[in-house]
Symmetry: D2
Subunit: 283 residues, 4 copies
């Protein structure tokens, strides 16, 4: 038997925790995890609550229906998921392979609870890796002229393949607003800098020129504005004058792998809520 | 108006979250923070729940009485506190002043919600600092012969002064089991190593001899066994062959200040529960 | 007896290390520390070399004269210092006291080898702290109208007091280009963000709005361009959605203290060279 | 053209730096890197000096012969290497694959300048990975009875294959003193704890039971005494009560990969000297 997970956000009012937990308890559910947070500035209440479906008296496919009443009482934004759902991921890559390998090996080791049926690239170079892991690889070469058409084909493919989450694993093409808006909070990017420093192209080179003593990596949901979506996770590592640009790249790539992996893990575990272009991560 | 805080631990069963949050809601309280954790190994449920007393229908001094019924239904270990309670701390020091100054300045800056009416030392050297901050300073010189008698006097003084929490801010005397047992989970020590490495005397020298590449500091509740009580917080910092023993001391002292401060802060905010010689910290 | 320290930068050529170390050895000096670095991009050679003056055959005040020959052979930028020189610091502060206290206490503990004869502020509030540490405190209230005049008075005072290094310990006034240019590489600022992110005003608020998961602090030499001088040191600390703006400030202030302290220490130990608006730190 | 690298340690005396750099300069070499360190306690001098062989007047295979005179003047321990030498590594593994994959992928990406011609295991499970990377895989099942014989076979194989460095990439067999002594400072192990805490078996379980708030990993040269050889590199990561034992393992494995990789990299770049069961790492 598996668990149900509710992600909730709404204006804070008395009784939310009591009524939600009572909804679960009175129907025979055992709460295994519960986290909540109130953003004092905006008076917004956030909750993640997970309970065992064993002995739960409401059928799985009726839970949403029954919960609706409570949800509308508090005007909740809410999302109901189940721990036995296995999201389907598409990885978008270009020429860099470090994040790709890292994700595929973690997936193989059972660390990421998802399926990875599809790798999309604007370059042919990583096809052999996809083959090695028996994953479908589709190349969509993109230039200024064909961008709209190619993106439309990608969207069709992603829908046909029932993809739940898109991972930009150092994908070098900027997605159009039209594309992004098809997948709100469902595209995760890794940017190779400590955002908002060094937005855009060649962040390692920017960092090297600036002479920073620490470099970073940032994973965020993709929105229309480049490198400006809600930040999910960041990490940093120390560098010095002894580090050449290629040392920065090498150290940074290790950060990228770690940060992207954590962001994806939290998304898969339904631990992330977004608001005001920021995230609540119940890790 | 202030908040009430409940710290709860008990065997996990269905309904705890629901009934506790309902107890608060049905009496008109607004839950501001709620954290829970289940230790899967021992099937232990832990909770910290905080609610506004504004509009709460139970008088402050009757809450414990009313909550008892629910507590006994689940055989809870529980503790009820109020955010307007200001714990009284006694600082135990010897010759080192860095933690002492750090705590006194943070207290002065309003970072630590407590009173510090008393500094106890086995050396006279820090009296001038106590004077400077207008805090009572009592010296209890201790040797093998007078230890029992002096500790008894200290205990009497601490009780007379209504001290809630004892901080060993690099206090060099080992407290006797008899002393420790008077203040269970109410004595916080800072040990200048990454425990359980380098227990006991001269941990920086031990670390230096060993040639470690990272040193640490550990804050823990004091139990009968030396440097072995439940760990509250730890942190580490990188060292190299270029660091002399005195560099280790200097870097380590900064860690000690940071780690001890966080441990005290969490204790004062009632964020720590202990079990199996470990801690749950709802930070 | 004390040590001599040479800081050297020049175009890289064969023989620099050999000739410099031979200059020292052939005159009876024992080299205690030697670090060098070549910036491959610009083909620049950097060196810090320190030797014992015990048994050194050249009189202390003749060393520069004798070294000149070698220096001009390689067109060196060079600086000769002595370990018994005690630089004189002026601390510039406004209302925040955490960095001020931190520096004064470290100085008192013998961690910073310098004199601190002067505190300058645009507010009267920290005078009592200065008094407490027996340091001269001069207030220069500054507004748009009197800025030029007040800065001129400050410059005169700093010269009269033979100040070697200016520390902006959360000083809120922006110094004019005219002022800055009087003290090249001799003004160290602490900025409360991970530069180049969040330049200018209210960086903690900017970070909070942006929803970053890590905040930072940066110490740098002050140049004409605001918050853009050569970075000496940076550090970062993790934050989460649970951290309010005031939590960011509290955590950040601890970073500021640590980062500013390291930058000053390295400057005092003559471990920093600058080039291309970057630093080499031989730590 | 390539570089020559000298690693030197000896009692500190006047003139070492001057004479060594003069040896290089007077023969036409350009020094590209030079690091030195004096251990004040034991008065030991350490140096790593690297110079371009382009225009160097001594034939490569005569350098050692010529340097001997200087070396014996100062009773140096010394080692001469060349940047075009490509060390040959043997990886020892058991069932865990994370370090193995990490090293093979970094090697493939050109991050580790070595050959990896051989993988030795006491289990058959990783043969397919070795095959995938076209590396010879030899299984040596080991039990109490056959240990001496099997180790002897391993030693013969390692000599026959001209292996320069042995990497224990989570190899679960303890090597005998006899084996270890064949490869002094040429066996690098990764231990999955912050040594000297949690020596021996199941360090993650030990850490979990102890309730530490930070876990670590340590890479060290293997000596006769278990987990007690000179530490090359360590790193740590934060854990909390929310982390199960398997979370500790997952987080720890990422540390192991990073720490082992850095240790190997520094060894391959001839940046490590050992003394008093400690290391000097000129990173």
């Amino acid at each position: 038997m598996h668990n149900a997970i509710l992600l909730i956000s709404c204006s804070d009012k008395k009784g939310i925790t009591a009524k939600v937990s009572n909804f679960i308890y009175s129907n025979g559910g055992n709460i295994e995890h519960a986290d909540q947070h109130i953003d004092a500035e905006s008076n917004t209440f956030f909750m993640r609550i997970e309970w065992a479906l064993k002995d739960f008296s409401i059928e799985k496919d009726m839970i949403a229906e029954k919960f609706k009443v409570l949800a509308s009482e508090f005007s909740m934004n809410w999302d109901l998921c189940f721990s036995d759902e296995v999201p389907r991921l598409a990885l978008f890559v270009s020429k860099y392979v470090h994040c790709l390998y890292d994700l595929l090996l973690r997936h193989k080791a059972g660390q990421l609870k998802c399926e990875i049926p599809l790798i999309i690239s604007n370059h042919p170079g990583t096809k052999s890796i996809a083959d090695n892991f028996s994953i479908k690889f589709i190349e969509f070469p993109i230039d200024a002229d064909n961008k709209f058409v190619q993106e439309q084909k990608e969207i069709n493919l992603l829908k046909k393949e029932n993809i739940d989450l898109l991972i930009l694993a150092r994908y070098t093409q900027v997605l159009s607003a039209n594309f992004v808006n098809q997948f709100p909070n469902r595209i995760i990017n890794i940017h190779h800098s400590f955002l908002p420093a060094f937005i855009g192209k060649n962040p390692y080179q920017q960092a090297y020129r600036k002479g920073v003593k620490i470099i970073g990596a940032t994973s965020h949901y993709v929105t229309e504005e480049l490198d400006a979506g809600p930040i999910i996770e960041q990490d940093t590592v120390r560098v010095s004058h002894r580090d050449s640009l290629s040392d920065l790249v090498r150290k940074g790539e290790d950060l990228e792998k770690a940060v992207l992996n954590r962001a994806i893990r939290w998304h898969l575990e339904k631990k992330i809520l977004t608001y005001n272009n920021k995230t609540v991560v119940f890790d």
